[in-house]
């Protein structure tokens, strides 16, 4: 499957530039549909549940804290065999970081890798 890297500018509440976040996503539109026919759910917490818990916590005067797991999607192992192709820019950056990837460079200037962890699809 092809991959795409996109970047997003993040700004502070004051409007000043904070940071630039980048994310590598796989082209799920090129994936075989039979591999994920019954596995398309993406459960997230509902807004009503969040407000209910906040109300109960306020009523019982509990301390509330939030926790974020950066790169949580990288903790799930892949059960299927999926290959992705990194484009030229990603391949160059990857070879700058780890020079062992140079021998895996294809004639088109890309690198094909086998996924072991989950990635975001588009």
């Amino acid at each position: 499957m092809p991959t795409t890297m996109f970047l997003k500018e993040k700004f502070k509440p004051s409007g000043a530039f904070d940071k630039l976040k980048s994310r590598l996503v796989a082209g799920g539109h090129r994936q075989d549909r039979s591999l994920y026919r019954d596995k398309t759910s993406s459960p997230t917490v509902s807004t009503s549940c969040v407000f209910t818990i906040a109300t109960i916590a306020h009523h019982e005067r509990r301390a509330v804290a939030t926790v974020d797991f950066p790169g949580a999607y990288l903790n799930s192992d892949m059960n299927t065999e999926i290959y992705i192709e990194l484009d030229k820019i990603m391949s160059n950056l990857l070879m700058q970081i780890d020079k062992e990837y140079t021998k895996y460079l294809t004639d088109e200037g890309t690198i094909v890798v086998l996924l072991k962890k989950a990635l975001y699809y588009f």
Binding site: M5, L7, S22, Y101, V113, K116, K117
Partner: protein, 196 residues
């Protein structure tokens, strides 16, 4: 409805010979002759164009030599006298609104005089004055909104909030490269893939 259609319809009724005494239709109103008398008159009157006369009597035919023209010219502009507004009973708010409206009209007239719109100005002047001897007005259908701003000139065009790597490198330079390197390093640290 065109006049020829009505006349032909009435002539066809004459030929049908089954005109009943009841009124089948009635256009307009006539005091001299009623439609109930049509059958009697048909027997007595020898005029072949009797139904045409009926049609002319009961149907008001507009005999104008002018043809229909959707373009408003100086000749067919109706001269409507402006209604005088009685300000005696108006409240202060209404007077203020009226003054604002007059001020806006003055602004628009000034803007029109500043902009070279050509025949549009002559149309406005002629409609206000309603003079028969107005200057020649050349109607036009195209280019009526030449003063309108072109699409894209009034808003800042944004194609998307995300940046591609090439756009980010060209716009932000080293910051974009560093961000992408961080993402790749994170993937390598988690051992997300193995090269093939």
């Amino acid at each position: 409805m065109p006049d020829d259609v009505v006349i032909n319809y009435l002539n066809n009724m004459k030929e049908a010979k089954d005109i009943s005494e009841e009124k089948n239709f009635r256009v307009g109103f006539g005091n001299e002759r009623d439609f109930n008398d049509v059958e009697d008159c048909e027997e007595t009157v020898e005029n072949e164009h009797f139904m045409d006369d009926v049609a002319r009597r009961y149907i008001q035919i507009r005999s104008t030599s002018q043809t229909y023209d959707p373009i408003i010219t100086d000749n067919n502009i109706p001269c409507i006298e402006k209604e005088e507004i009685d300000d005696g009973e108006a409240t202060e708010d209404m007077q203020l609104d009226k003054s604002d409206y007059v001020a806006d009209e003055e602004k628009e007239s000034k803007a029109d005089s500043d902009n070279d719109t050509g025949p549009m100005n002559s149309n406005d002047d002629s409609s206000d004055k309603c003079d028969d001897t107005a200057s020649e007005y050349i109607p036009r259908r195209e280019g009526l909104r030449t003063q309108r701003k072109k699409p894209g000139s009034y808003t800042r065009r944004e194609y998307g909030l995300h940046l591609t790597p090439r756009q980010a490198i060209s716009q932000l330079g080293a910051v974009a490269v560093e961000s992408m390197m961080t993402e790749i390093k994170q993937l390598l640290a988690r051992q997300s893939w193995t090269p093939v």
